[in-house]
Protein backbone atom coordinates (compact mmCIF):
# COMPACT_ATOMS: atom_id res chain seq x y z
CA UNK A 1 0.00 0.00 0.00
CA UNK A 2 2.89 2.27 0.83
CA UNK A 3 4.23 1.73 -2.71
CA UNK A 4 1.03 3.10 -4.27
CA UNK A 5 2.10 6.78 -4.63
CA UNK A 6 5.21 5.64 -6.43
CA UNK A 7 3.28 3.49 -8.89
CA UNK A 8 0.77 6.27 -9.53
CA UNK A 9 3.63 8.65 -10.28
CA UNK A 10 5.21 6.24 -12.73
CA UNK A 11 1.88 5.61 -14.48
CA UNK A 12 1.20 9.35 -14.73
CA UNK A 13 4.65 9.85 -16.17
CA UNK A 14 4.22 7.11 -18.76
CA UNK A 15 0.77 8.22 -19.80
CA UNK A 16 1.94 11.81 -20.13
CA UNK A 17 4.56 10.69 -22.62
CA UNK A 18 2.36 8.34 -24.65
CA UNK A 19 2.05 9.53 -28.25
CA UNK A 20 -1.21 9.58 -30.16
CA UNK A 21 -1.32 6.61 -32.51
CA UNK A 22 -0.73 7.62 -36.11
CA UNK A 23 -3.89 7.30 -38.16
CA UNK A 24 -2.45 7.51 -41.62
CA UNK A 25 0.88 8.03 -43.25
CA UNK A 26 0.50 9.49 -46.73
CA UNK A 27 3.47 9.41 -49.05
CA UNK A 28 4.97 12.82 -49.79
CA UNK A 29 4.66 13.71 -53.48
CA UNK A 30 7.76 15.15 -55.02
CA UNK A 31 7.05 17.67 -57.75
CA UNK A 32 9.46 17.73 -60.67
CA UNK A 33 9.97 21.46 -61.06
CA UNK A 34 11.52 22.43 -64.43
CA UNK A 35 14.95 24.03 -64.17
CA UNK A 36 13.76 27.38 -65.55
CA UNK A 37 10.70 27.58 -63.28
CA UNK A 38 10.55 28.98 -59.73
CA UNK A 39 9.72 26.69 -56.83
CA UNK A 40 6.03 26.09 -56.50
CA UNK A 41 4.49 27.56 -53.36
CA UNK A 42 2.47 24.81 -51.66
CA UNK A 43 -0.06 25.83 -49.00
CA UNK A 44 0.94 24.61 -45.55
CA UNK A 45 -2.50 23.12 -44.93
CA UNK A 46 -2.50 21.07 -48.13
CA UNK A 47 0.86 19.35 -48.59
CA UNK A 48 1.28 17.28 -51.74
CA UNK A 49 0.91 13.52 -51.25
CA UNK A 50 0.81 10.63 -53.68
CA UNK A 51 -2.55 9.57 -52.28
CA UNK A 52 -3.97 13.10 -52.44
CA UNK A 53 -2.91 13.51 -56.07
CA UNK A 54 -4.41 10.13 -57.03
CA UNK A 55 -7.68 11.01 -55.34
CA UNK A 56 -7.72 14.46 -56.94
CA UNK A 57 -7.19 12.95 -60.37
CA UNK A 58 -10.13 10.59 -59.91
CA UNK A 59 -12.32 13.44 -58.67
CA UNK A 60 -11.31 15.65 -61.60
CA UNK A 61 -12.93 13.15 -63.94
CA UNK A 62 -15.87 12.37 -61.62
CA UNK A 63 -19.25 13.12 -63.24
CA UNK A 64 -21.13 12.40 -60.00
CA UNK A 65 -20.07 15.87 -58.86
CA UNK A 66 -22.76 17.28 -61.16
CA UNK A 67 -26.51 17.29 -60.62
CA UNK A 68 -27.35 14.88 -63.43
CA UNK A 69 -24.11 12.88 -63.34
CA UNK A 70 -23.06 14.13 -66.75
CA UNK A 71 -20.38 16.72 -66.13
CA UNK A 72 -16.96 16.49 -64.56
CA UNK A 73 -14.25 19.14 -64.24
CA UNK A 74 -12.67 17.52 -67.28
CA UNK A 75 -15.81 18.13 -69.35
CA UNK A 76 -14.89 21.82 -69.67
CA UNK A 77 -11.15 21.27 -69.25
CA UNK A 78 -10.50 18.44 -71.66
CA UNK A 79 -6.94 17.13 -72.12
CA UNK A 80 -7.35 17.00 -75.91
CA UNK A 81 -8.25 20.71 -75.89
CA UNK A 82 -5.34 21.91 -73.80
CA UNK A 83 -7.41 21.28 -70.65
CA UNK A 84 -9.84 23.88 -71.95
CA UNK A 85 -13.10 23.84 -73.91
CA UNK A 86 -13.47 24.39 -77.64
CA UNK A 87 -16.97 25.79 -77.22
CA UNK A 88 -17.30 29.57 -76.90
CA UNK A 89 -19.07 29.09 -73.59
CA UNK A 90 -19.12 25.85 -71.68
CA UNK A 91 -22.45 24.09 -71.26
CA UNK A 92 -23.53 23.13 -67.75
CA UNK A 93 -26.15 20.64 -66.60
CA UNK A 94 -29.52 20.82 -68.37
CA UNK A 95 -27.83 22.66 -71.21
CA UNK A 96 -27.27 25.85 -69.24
CA UNK A 97 -24.76 27.99 -71.06
CA UNK A 98 -22.11 29.86 -69.12
CA UNK A 99 -21.01 33.41 -69.84
CA UNK A 100 -17.25 33.12 -70.06
CA UNK A 101 -14.82 30.91 -71.92
CA UNK A 102 -13.36 28.04 -69.97
CA UNK A 103 -9.79 28.88 -68.91
CA UNK A 104 -7.04 26.46 -69.83
CA UNK A 105 -5.61 24.59 -66.85
CA UNK A 106 -1.84 24.82 -66.93
CA UNK A 107 0.84 25.55 -64.36
CA UNK A 108 -1.85 26.45 -61.84
CA UNK A 109 0.50 25.98 -58.90
CA UNK A 110 2.08 29.33 -59.68
CA UNK A 111 -1.11 31.30 -60.16
CA UNK A 112 -1.89 34.03 -57.64
CA UNK A 113 -5.58 34.40 -58.43
CA UNK A 114 -8.17 32.43 -60.35
CA UNK A 115 -11.05 32.86 -62.82
CA UNK A 116 -11.11 35.56 -65.47
CA UNK A 117 -12.17 38.07 -62.82
CA UNK A 118 -9.82 36.84 -60.09
CA UNK A 119 -12.62 36.22 -57.62
CA UNK A 120 -10.81 33.25 -56.05
CA UNK A 121 -7.52 33.83 -54.30
CA UNK A 122 -6.43 30.22 -53.98
CA UNK A 123 -6.71 27.11 -56.09
CA UNK A 124 -8.66 25.35 -53.35
CA UNK A 125 -11.11 28.27 -53.22
CA UNK A 126 -11.50 28.17 -56.98
CA UNK A 127 -12.33 24.47 -57.02
CA UNK A 128 -15.17 24.96 -54.55
CA UNK A 129 -17.13 27.15 -56.96
CA UNK A 130 -18.06 25.19 -60.11
CA UNK A 131 -19.86 22.33 -58.31
CA UNK A 132 -22.72 24.39 -56.81
CA UNK A 133 -22.74 26.92 -59.67
CA UNK A 134 -26.15 26.62 -61.43
CA UNK A 135 -24.54 27.32 -64.79
CA UNK A 136 -21.98 24.58 -64.32
CA UNK A 137 -22.37 21.40 -62.26
CA UNK A 138 -25.28 22.67 -60.18
CA UNK A 139 -24.93 20.26 -57.27
CA UNK A 140 -25.03 21.27 -53.62
CA UNK A 141 -21.88 20.20 -51.84
CA UNK A 142 -23.91 18.30 -49.24
CA UNK A 143 -25.34 16.12 -51.98
CA UNK A 144 -21.93 15.67 -53.57
CA UNK A 145 -20.56 14.63 -50.19
CA UNK A 146 -23.36 12.08 -49.78
CA UNK A 147 -22.70 10.56 -53.20
CA UNK A 148 -19.01 10.16 -52.49
CA UNK A 149 -19.60 8.74 -49.02
CA UNK A 150 -21.86 6.08 -50.51
CA UNK A 151 -18.96 4.85 -52.59
CA UNK A 152 -16.65 2.51 -50.67
CA UNK A 153 -13.81 3.16 -53.06
CA UNK A 154 -13.91 6.88 -52.36
CA UNK A 155 -14.14 6.27 -48.60
CA UNK A 156 -10.98 4.21 -48.84
CA UNK A 157 -9.22 6.84 -50.96
CA UNK A 158 -10.13 9.68 -48.60
CA UNK A 159 -8.79 7.69 -45.65
CA UNK A 160 -5.55 7.10 -47.52
CA UNK A 161 -5.25 10.73 -48.60
CA UNK A 162 -6.48 12.60 -45.55
CA UNK A 163 -6.93 10.02 -42.78
CA UNK A 164 -10.67 10.52 -42.65
CA UNK A 165 -13.81 8.80 -43.88
CA UNK A 166 -15.64 12.07 -43.45
CA UNK A 167 -15.84 13.58 -46.90
CA UNK A 168 -16.55 17.25 -47.31
CA UNK A 169 -15.99 19.93 -49.91
CA UNK A 170 -12.76 21.07 -48.28
CA UNK A 171 -11.12 17.69 -48.73
CA UNK A 172 -12.45 17.36 -52.27
CA UNK A 173 -11.00 20.77 -53.14
CA UNK A 174 -7.70 19.92 -51.51
CA UNK A 175 -7.37 16.67 -53.43
CA UNK A 176 -8.23 18.21 -56.79
CA UNK A 177 -5.87 21.11 -56.07
CA UNK A 178 -3.06 18.64 -55.41
CA UNK A 179 -3.72 16.95 -58.73
CA UNK A 180 -3.89 20.24 -60.61
CA UNK A 181 -0.57 21.33 -59.11
CA UNK A 182 1.07 18.35 -60.78
CA UNK A 183 -0.08 19.58 -64.19
CA UNK A 184 3.10 21.33 -65.18
CA UNK A 185 3.72 22.21 -68.80
CA UNK A 186 7.34 23.10 -69.57
CA UNK A 187 8.28 20.87 -72.44
CA UNK A 188 7.62 22.96 -75.52
CA UNK A 189 9.94 24.33 -78.15
CA UNK A 190 9.43 27.72 -76.52
CA UNK A 191 10.96 26.39 -73.31
CA UNK A 192 14.12 25.51 -75.18
CA UNK A 193 14.15 28.93 -76.86
CA UNK A 194 13.62 30.63 -73.51
CA UNK A 195 16.47 28.71 -71.91
CA UNK A 196 18.78 29.30 -74.86
CA UNK A 197 17.99 33.03 -75.00
CA UNK A 198 18.81 33.29 -71.30
CA UNK A 199 22.05 31.30 -71.42
CA UNK A 200 20.67 28.39 -69.43
CA UNK A 201 22.21 25.01 -69.98
CA UNK A 202 20.34 22.77 -72.42
CA UNK A 203 20.12 19.04 -71.95
CA UNK A 204 21.13 16.91 -74.96
CA UNK A 205 17.50 16.35 -75.92
CA UNK A 206 16.77 20.07 -75.54
CA UNK A 207 19.74 20.82 -77.74
CA UNK A 208 18.25 18.61 -80.42
CA UNK A 209 15.02 20.58 -80.19
CA UNK A 210 16.97 23.83 -80.30
CA UNK A 211 18.44 22.78 -83.64
CA UNK A 212 14.93 22.47 -85.06
CA UNK A 213 13.93 26.05 -84.20
CA UNK A 214 13.39 27.76 -87.53
CA UNK A 215 14.47 31.23 -88.56
CA UNK A 216 10.80 32.17 -88.76
CA UNK A 217 10.20 31.06 -85.18
CA UNK A 218 13.16 33.08 -83.90
CA UNK A 219 11.98 36.08 -85.91
CA UNK A 220 8.53 35.66 -84.36
CA UNK A 221 10.14 35.49 -80.92
CA UNK A 222 11.94 38.78 -81.61
CA UNK A 223 8.71 40.40 -82.80
CA UNK A 224 6.91 39.13 -79.72
CA UNK A 225 9.54 40.70 -77.46
CA UNK A 226 9.87 43.95 -79.36
CA UNK A 227 8.32 47.23 -78.21
CA UNK A 228 8.03 48.36 -81.80
CA UNK A 229 7.05 44.94 -83.07
CA UNK A 230 4.14 42.94 -81.73
CA UNK A 231 4.78 44.22 -78.17
CA UNK A 232 3.26 41.11 -76.55
CA UNK A 233 5.80 40.69 -73.78
CA UNK A 234 4.33 43.23 -71.38
CA UNK A 235 1.56 40.78 -70.64
CA UNK A 236 2.97 37.44 -71.77
CA UNK A 237 6.41 36.84 -70.48
CA UNK A 238 8.83 34.54 -68.71
CA UNK A 239 8.63 30.82 -68.19
CA UNK A 240 4.92 30.98 -67.35
CA UNK A 241 4.25 33.02 -70.49
CA UNK A 242 2.09 35.48 -68.60
CA UNK A 243 2.30 38.22 -66.03
CA UNK A 244 -0.13 37.98 -63.19
CA UNK A 245 -2.37 40.96 -63.35
CA UNK A 246 -5.57 42.14 -65.01
CA UNK A 247 -5.80 43.94 -68.31
CA UNK A 248 -8.26 45.57 -70.63
CA UNK A 249 -6.82 44.52 -73.97
CA UNK A 250 -9.01 46.73 -76.10
CA UNK A 251 -11.74 44.31 -77.09
CA UNK A 252 -14.59 46.78 -76.61
CA UNK A 253 -15.24 50.48 -76.21
CA UNK A 254 -18.09 49.74 -73.79
CA UNK A 255 -18.41 46.66 -71.63
CA UNK A 256 -21.19 44.10 -71.49
CA UNK A 257 -19.08 42.17 -68.95
CA UNK A 258 -17.31 44.31 -66.36
CA UNK A 259 -14.85 41.53 -65.52
CA UNK A 260 -12.65 42.42 -62.56
CA UNK A 261 -14.68 45.59 -62.06
CA UNK A 262 -17.74 43.55 -61.09
CA UNK A 263 -15.69 41.96 -58.29
CA UNK A 264 -14.01 45.08 -56.92
CA UNK A 265 -16.73 47.64 -57.67
CA UNK A 266 -13.93 49.90 -58.82
CA UNK A 267 -14.68 51.58 -62.13
CA UNK A 268 -11.01 51.61 -63.04
CA UNK A 269 -11.15 47.79 -63.13
CA UNK A 270 -14.09 47.71 -65.55
CA UNK A 271 -13.44 45.62 -68.62
CA UNK A 272 -10.25 44.12 -67.22
CA UNK A 273 -9.64 40.37 -67.06
CA UNK A 274 -6.92 38.05 -65.87
CA UNK A 275 -4.06 37.76 -68.34
CA UNK A 276 -3.87 34.09 -69.30
CA UNK A 277 -0.77 32.08 -70.13
CA UNK A 278 -0.16 31.53 -73.82
CA UNK A 279 1.14 28.02 -73.24
CA UNK A 280 -0.47 25.50 -75.59
CA UNK A 281 -2.38 28.31 -77.25
CA UNK A 282 -2.57 26.26 -80.44
CA UNK A 283 -5.06 23.98 -78.68
CA UNK A 284 -6.98 26.37 -76.45
CA UNK A 285 -9.25 28.13 -78.96
CA UNK A 286 -11.56 29.97 -78.84
CA UNK A 287 -9.75 32.94 -77.34
CA UNK A 288 -10.48 35.83 -74.94
CA UNK A 289 -12.79 35.79 -71.92
CA UNK A 290 -15.83 35.57 -74.18
CA UNK A 291 -14.31 33.25 -76.74
CA UNK A 292 -14.92 35.73 -79.53
CA UNK A 293 -11.93 34.73 -81.62
CA UNK A 294 -11.83 31.28 -83.18
CA UNK A 295 -8.32 31.37 -84.58
CA UNK A 296 -4.90 32.74 -83.78
CA UNK A 297 -5.10 34.80 -86.97
CA UNK A 298 -8.11 36.63 -85.56
CA UNK A 299 -6.25 37.27 -82.33
CA UNK A 300 -3.23 38.66 -84.17
CA UNK A 301 -5.49 40.85 -86.28
CA UNK A 302 -7.11 42.21 -83.15
CA UNK A 303 -3.81 43.35 -81.67
CA UNK A 304 -2.69 44.64 -85.06
CA UNK A 305 -5.66 46.72 -86.16
CA UNK A 306 -8.76 46.35 -84.01
CA UNK A 307 -7.88 47.72 -80.56
CA UNK A 308 -10.70 49.80 -79.16
CA UNK A 309 -10.04 52.68 -76.81
CA UNK A 310 -11.91 52.88 -73.52
CA UNK A 311 -11.22 54.59 -70.18
CA UNK A 312 -9.54 51.50 -68.74
CA UNK A 313 -7.53 50.44 -71.80
CA UNK A 314 -4.25 48.92 -70.69
CA UNK A 315 -1.57 51.61 -71.01
CA UNK A 316 0.80 48.84 -72.09
CA UNK A 317 -1.00 48.75 -75.42
CA UNK A 318 1.21 51.48 -76.66
CA UNK A 319 -0.25 51.74 -80.14
CA UNK A 320 -3.89 51.64 -79.12
CA UNK A 321 -4.40 55.14 -80.50
CA UNK A 322 -3.80 53.78 -84.01
CA UNK A 323 -5.80 50.61 -83.47
CA UNK A 324 -2.86 48.33 -82.72
CA UNK A 325 0.69 47.43 -83.64
CA UNK A 326 0.03 47.37 -87.40
CA UNK A 327 1.79 44.13 -88.26
CA UNK A 328 2.00 43.33 -91.96
CA UNK A 329 1.17 39.93 -93.42
CA UNK A 330 4.73 38.64 -93.14
CA UNK A 331 5.06 39.75 -89.52
CA UNK A 332 1.76 38.14 -88.66
CA UNK A 333 2.98 34.90 -90.13
CA UNK A 334 6.22 35.06 -88.13
CA UNK A 335 4.38 35.85 -84.92
CA UNK A 336 2.04 32.93 -85.46
CA UNK A 337 5.00 30.62 -86.08
CA UNK A 338 6.38 31.64 -82.69
CA UNK A 339 3.03 31.22 -80.92
CA UNK A 340 2.91 27.64 -82.17
CA UNK A 341 6.22 26.89 -80.45
CA UNK A 342 4.37 27.03 -77.14
CA UNK A 343 2.68 23.72 -77.78
CA UNK A 344 3.71 21.02 -75.31
CA UNK A 345 2.42 17.73 -76.72
CA UNK A 346 3.74 15.75 -73.79
CA UNK A 347 1.44 17.75 -71.53
CA UNK A 348 -1.81 16.65 -73.20
CA UNK A 349 -0.71 13.08 -73.59
CA UNK A 350 0.81 12.66 -70.14
CA UNK A 351 -0.82 9.46 -68.80
CA UNK A 352 -0.59 10.85 -65.27
CA UNK A 353 -3.18 13.46 -66.23
CA UNK A 354 -5.61 11.14 -68.00
CA UNK A 355 -8.89 9.74 -66.76
CA UNK A 356 -8.12 6.93 -64.26
CA UNK A 357 -11.68 5.67 -64.15
Amino acid sequence: MKLLPGFIGVIVLISACKKEPKIYEPTPYSLDIPSHFPDMPIPADNPMTVEGVALGRKLFYETRLSLDNTIACASCHAPSKGFSDDRTFSVGVNGTVGRRQSMALVNLGWQQFFFWDGRAKTLEEQILQPVPDPTEMHLQWKEAQKRLENDLEYKRLFVKAFGTQFIDSTYVAKAIAQFLRTMISANSKYDVMYKYANNMQLTPSEYQIYQTVSIQEWAGYDLFQSLNGADCFHCHNGALMQVQRYSNNGLDATFSDLGRGAVTGNTSDNGTFKIPSLRNIEFTAPYMHDGRFSTLDEVINHYSHQIKISPTIDPMIEFAFQGGVQLDANEKSLLKAFLLTMTDHSFFTNPAFSDPN
Partner: protein
Protein backbone atom coordinates in the same frame (compact mmCIF):
# COMPACT_ATOMS: atom_id res chain seq x y z
CA UNK B 1 13.00 0.47 3.32
CA UNK B 2 15.39 1.31 0.50
CA UNK B 3 12.79 0.10 -2.07
CA UNK B 4 10.19 2.39 -0.55
CA UNK B 5 12.53 5.36 -0.78
CA UNK B 6 13.32 4.66 -4.45
CA UNK B 7 9.65 4.39 -5.34
CA UNK B 8 8.87 7.65 -3.56
CA UNK B 9 11.69 9.39 -5.40
CA UNK B 10 10.29 8.04 -8.66
CA UNK B 11 6.87 9.34 -7.72
CA UNK B 12 8.22 12.80 -7.03
CA UNK B 13 10.23 12.86 -10.27
CA UNK B 14 7.24 11.55 -12.21
CA UNK B 15 4.90 14.20 -10.87
CA UNK B 16 7.54 16.85 -11.38
CA UNK B 17 7.99 15.90 -15.03
CA UNK B 18 4.25 15.70 -15.58
CA UNK B 19 3.74 19.18 -14.18
CA UNK B 20 6.72 20.40 -16.18
CA UNK B 21 5.25 18.91 -19.33
CA UNK B 22 1.99 20.72 -18.73
CA UNK B 23 3.65 24.02 -17.99
CA UNK B 24 4.33 24.85 -21.63
CA UNK B 25 0.66 24.53 -22.43
CA UNK B 26 -0.23 26.82 -19.54
CA UNK B 27 2.30 29.32 -20.75
CA UNK B 28 0.88 29.14 -24.27
CA UNK B 29 -2.46 30.09 -22.87
CA UNK B 30 -1.07 33.13 -21.15
CA UNK B 31 -1.59 36.34 -23.04
CA UNK B 32 1.38 36.90 -25.28
CA UNK B 33 3.23 40.16 -24.88
CA UNK B 34 2.94 42.26 -28.02
CA UNK B 35 6.39 42.72 -29.47
CA UNK B 36 7.18 46.25 -30.56
CA UNK B 37 7.43 46.62 -34.31
CA UNK B 38 8.56 49.21 -36.78
CA UNK B 39 6.76 49.63 -40.06
CA UNK B 40 7.92 51.46 -43.15
CA UNK B 41 5.12 52.69 -45.37
CA UNK B 42 4.96 54.38 -48.73
CA UNK B 43 2.33 56.74 -50.11
CA UNK B 44 2.00 58.23 -53.57
CA UNK B 45 1.14 61.91 -53.24
CA UNK B 46 0.92 65.02 -55.35
CA UNK B 47 2.37 67.79 -53.21
CA UNK B 48 0.22 67.51 -50.06
CA UNK B 49 -2.57 65.51 -51.71
CA UNK B 50 -2.81 61.79 -50.94
CA UNK B 51 -3.44 59.68 -54.02
CA UNK B 52 -5.20 57.02 -52.02
CA UNK B 53 -7.38 55.68 -54.80
CA UNK B 54 -7.39 55.56 -58.56
CA UNK B 55 -10.25 58.05 -58.62
CA UNK B 56 -8.42 60.90 -56.89
CA UNK B 57 -7.73 63.71 -59.34
CA UNK B 58 -4.76 66.03 -59.05
CA UNK B 59 -3.92 69.02 -61.21
CA UNK B 60 -0.43 69.59 -62.51
CA UNK B 61 1.36 72.94 -62.84
CA UNK B 62 0.40 72.93 -66.53
CA UNK B 63 -3.28 72.54 -65.63
CA UNK B 64 -3.61 68.88 -66.67
CA UNK B 65 -6.03 66.85 -64.59
CA UNK B 66 -4.55 63.48 -63.75
CA UNK B 67 -5.35 60.22 -61.96
CA UNK B 68 -2.78 57.75 -60.70
CA UNK B 69 -3.61 54.31 -62.05
CA UNK B 70 -0.74 52.35 -60.57
CA UNK B 71 2.59 52.80 -58.87
CA UNK B 72 4.96 49.93 -58.14
CA UNK B 73 8.49 50.15 -56.85
CA UNK B 74 11.20 47.57 -56.24
CA UNK B 75 13.53 48.44 -53.37
CA UNK B 76 16.52 46.24 -52.62
CA UNK B 77 19.13 45.89 -49.90
CA UNK B 78 17.06 47.68 -47.29
CA UNK B 79 19.32 48.43 -44.34
CA UNK B 80 19.29 50.05 -40.96
CA UNK B 81 22.89 51.20 -40.86
CA UNK B 82 24.81 48.03 -41.63
CA UNK B 83 22.00 45.75 -40.52
CA UNK B 84 20.12 44.14 -43.40
CA UNK B 85 16.36 44.53 -42.90
CA UNK B 86 15.31 42.83 -46.12
CA UNK B 87 17.04 41.92 -49.38
CA UNK B 88 14.10 43.24 -51.40
CA UNK B 89 10.60 44.63 -51.10
CA UNK B 90 7.96 45.63 -53.60
CA UNK B 91 5.58 48.52 -53.06
CA UNK B 92 2.32 48.16 -54.98
CA UNK B 93 -0.24 50.96 -54.79
CA UNK B 94 -3.04 48.43 -55.39
CA UNK B 95 -2.02 46.32 -52.42
CA UNK B 96 -1.63 48.77 -49.54
CA UNK B 97 1.00 51.06 -48.11
CA UNK B 98 3.12 48.73 -45.99
CA UNK B 99 6.56 48.25 -47.44
CA UNK B 100 8.21 46.46 -44.57
CA UNK B 101 7.35 45.50 -41.00
CA UNK B 102 9.95 44.11 -38.61
CA UNK B 103 10.37 43.63 -34.88
CA UNK B 104 12.15 46.46 -33.10
CA UNK B 105 11.77 50.03 -31.96
CA UNK B 106 12.67 53.36 -33.52
CA UNK B 107 15.52 53.70 -31.03
CA UNK B 108 17.20 50.79 -32.81
CA UNK B 109 17.27 52.83 -36.01
CA UNK B 110 20.12 55.10 -36.97
CA UNK B 111 19.40 55.42 -40.64
CA UNK B 112 17.55 53.77 -43.47
CA UNK B 113 19.14 53.03 -46.81
CA UNK B 114 18.05 51.10 -49.88
CA UNK B 115 18.41 50.86 -53.60
CA UNK B 116 15.69 51.92 -55.97
CA UNK B 117 15.88 49.02 -58.35
CA UNK B 118 18.09 45.97 -58.65
CA UNK B 119 21.86 45.93 -59.00
CA UNK B 120 23.26 44.73 -62.31
CA UNK B 121 24.25 41.29 -61.04
CA UNK B 122 20.82 40.40 -59.69
CA UNK B 123 19.13 42.26 -62.51
CA UNK B 124 20.29 39.75 -65.08
CA UNK B 125 20.19 36.58 -63.04
CA UNK B 126 17.55 33.85 -63.15
CA UNK B 127 14.35 35.36 -61.71
CA UNK B 128 13.08 31.86 -60.95
CA UNK B 129 16.02 31.07 -58.69
CA UNK B 130 15.06 33.31 -55.77
CA UNK B 131 13.29 31.64 -52.83
CA UNK B 132 9.49 31.66 -52.88
CA UNK B 133 9.22 34.43 -50.29
CA UNK B 134 11.77 36.68 -52.00
CA UNK B 135 10.30 39.77 -53.63
CA UNK B 136 12.46 39.24 -56.71
CA UNK B 137 11.14 35.72 -57.33
CA UNK B 138 9.41 35.91 -60.71
CA UNK B 139 6.09 34.85 -59.20
CA UNK B 140 6.19 37.79 -56.79
CA UNK B 141 7.82 40.28 -59.14
CA UNK B 142 5.55 39.17 -62.03
CA UNK B 143 4.89 42.24 -64.17
CA UNK B 144 7.88 44.02 -62.63
CA UNK B 145 10.17 41.83 -64.68
CA UNK B 146 10.60 42.21 -68.42
CA UNK B 147 13.03 39.45 -69.23
CA UNK B 148 16.56 38.43 -68.24
CA UNK B 149 17.81 41.28 -70.31
CA UNK B 150 16.88 44.09 -69.63
CA UNK B 151 15.81 42.59 -66.28
CA UNK B 152 13.50 44.15 -63.69
CA UNK B 153 11.33 47.22 -63.94
CA UNK B 154 12.69 49.29 -61.05
CA UNK B 155 9.59 51.42 -60.74
CA UNK B 156 6.49 52.03 -62.73
CA UNK B 157 4.14 54.98 -62.58
CA UNK B 158 1.02 54.83 -64.71
CA UNK B 159 -1.24 57.85 -64.99
CA UNK B 160 -4.30 58.76 -67.02
CA UNK B 161 -4.67 62.43 -67.84
CA UNK B 162 -7.13 64.92 -69.19
CA UNK B 163 -4.86 67.38 -70.96
CA UNK B 164 -7.60 69.61 -72.37
CA UNK B 165 -8.72 72.48 -70.17
CA UNK B 166 -12.28 72.54 -71.52
CA UNK B 167 -14.27 71.74 -68.37
CA UNK B 168 -15.22 68.31 -69.68
CA UNK B 169 -13.86 65.17 -68.03
CA UNK B 170 -12.01 63.26 -70.70
CA UNK B 171 -9.26 61.15 -69.17
CA UNK B 172 -7.95 59.68 -72.39
CA UNK B 173 -4.24 60.38 -72.29
CA UNK B 174 -2.34 57.44 -70.80
CA UNK B 175 1.05 58.15 -69.25
CA UNK B 176 3.31 55.15 -68.76
CA UNK B 177 6.67 55.27 -67.08
CA UNK B 178 8.36 51.89 -66.79
CA UNK B 179 11.84 52.62 -65.60
CA UNK B 180 14.57 50.01 -65.49
CA UNK B 181 17.93 49.05 -67.04
CA UNK B 182 21.21 49.29 -65.17
CA UNK B 183 21.63 52.97 -66.01
CA UNK B 184 18.61 53.93 -63.91
CA UNK B 185 19.68 52.08 -60.75
CA UNK B 186 19.83 54.50 -57.80
CA UNK B 187 20.59 54.33 -54.07
CA UNK B 188 19.31 56.54 -51.31
CA UNK B 189 19.67 57.02 -47.57
CA UNK B 190 17.54 58.65 -44.91
CA UNK B 191 18.90 59.95 -41.61
CA UNK B 192 17.17 61.87 -38.82
CA UNK B 193 14.19 59.59 -39.21
CA UNK B 194 10.81 60.92 -38.19
CA UNK B 195 8.89 58.08 -36.52
CA UNK B 196 5.18 58.16 -35.77
CA UNK B 197 3.34 56.13 -33.16
CA UNK B 198 0.77 54.06 -35.07
CA UNK B 199 -0.62 52.39 -31.93
CA UNK B 200 -0.56 48.71 -31.03
CA UNK B 201 3.19 48.95 -30.30
CA UNK B 202 3.90 49.86 -33.90
CA UNK B 203 6.05 52.80 -34.88
CA UNK B 204 5.81 54.02 -38.45
CA UNK B 205 8.28 55.63 -40.76
CA UNK B 206 6.27 57.12 -43.58
CA UNK B 207 7.81 57.55 -46.99
CA UNK B 208 6.11 59.36 -49.80
CA UNK B 209 6.65 59.62 -53.52
CA UNK B 210 5.67 63.13 -54.50
CA UNK B 211 4.57 63.01 -58.12
CA UNK B 212 4.87 66.78 -58.32
CA UNK B 213 8.59 66.35 -57.72
CA UNK B 214 8.71 63.42 -60.13
CA UNK B 215 7.45 65.73 -62.86
CA UNK B 216 9.39 68.80 -61.78
CA UNK B 217 12.63 68.46 -59.88
CA UNK B 218 14.34 71.83 -60.17
CA UNK B 219 15.21 72.23 -63.83
CA UNK B 220 14.53 68.59 -64.57
CA UNK B 221 10.95 68.66 -65.80
CA UNK B 222 8.79 66.03 -67.45
CA UNK B 223 5.86 67.13 -69.58
CA UNK B 224 3.30 64.37 -69.49
CA UNK B 225 1.71 65.63 -72.69
CA UNK B 226 4.81 65.04 -74.79
CA UNK B 227 6.92 62.76 -72.60
CA UNK B 228 4.21 60.30 -71.80
CA UNK B 229 5.85 56.94 -72.27
CA UNK B 230 8.99 55.03 -71.53
CA UNK B 231 9.65 51.34 -71.35
CA UNK B 232 13.35 52.10 -71.01
CA UNK B 233 14.13 50.95 -74.54
CA UNK B 234 17.38 52.49 -75.86
CA UNK B 235 15.62 55.45 -77.50
CA UNK B 236 13.59 56.05 -74.35
CA UNK B 237 16.47 55.73 -71.92
CA UNK B 238 17.15 59.50 -71.54
CA UNK B 239 13.60 59.96 -70.24
CA UNK B 240 14.00 56.94 -67.95
CA UNK B 241 17.24 58.35 -66.52
CA UNK B 242 15.57 61.71 -65.93
CA UNK B 243 12.67 59.98 -64.19
CA UNK B 244 15.07 57.88 -62.09
CA UNK B 245 16.80 61.03 -60.82
CA UNK B 246 13.49 62.76 -60.17
CA UNK B 247 12.05 59.68 -58.48
CA UNK B 248 14.96 59.58 -56.05
CA UNK B 249 14.35 63.25 -55.20
CA UNK B 250 10.60 62.65 -54.94
CA UNK B 251 11.04 59.88 -52.40
CA UNK B 252 11.18 61.47 -48.96
CA UNK B 253 9.95 60.77 -45.44
CA UNK B 254 7.20 62.90 -43.96
Amino acid sequence: MRMKRVVNYLAIIGLGLTIGACRDKDEENEEETVKPQVEITMDPMYDQQFLSSENVIFTTEEGYRVKLREMKVILTDLRNGNHLLSPAAIYDSKKGRTLLKVNGTSSDFGSLSFNIGVDSVLNHSDPAAFPNDHALNIVNASDMHWSWNPGYIFFKVELIADTLDDGIDNFNHPVTYHVGMDETFRSTQFTGLNWNNAGNSVEQLRLKVDLKRLLQNGNSTVDIKTEFMTHSAPAQLPLSIKLAENFKAALTSY
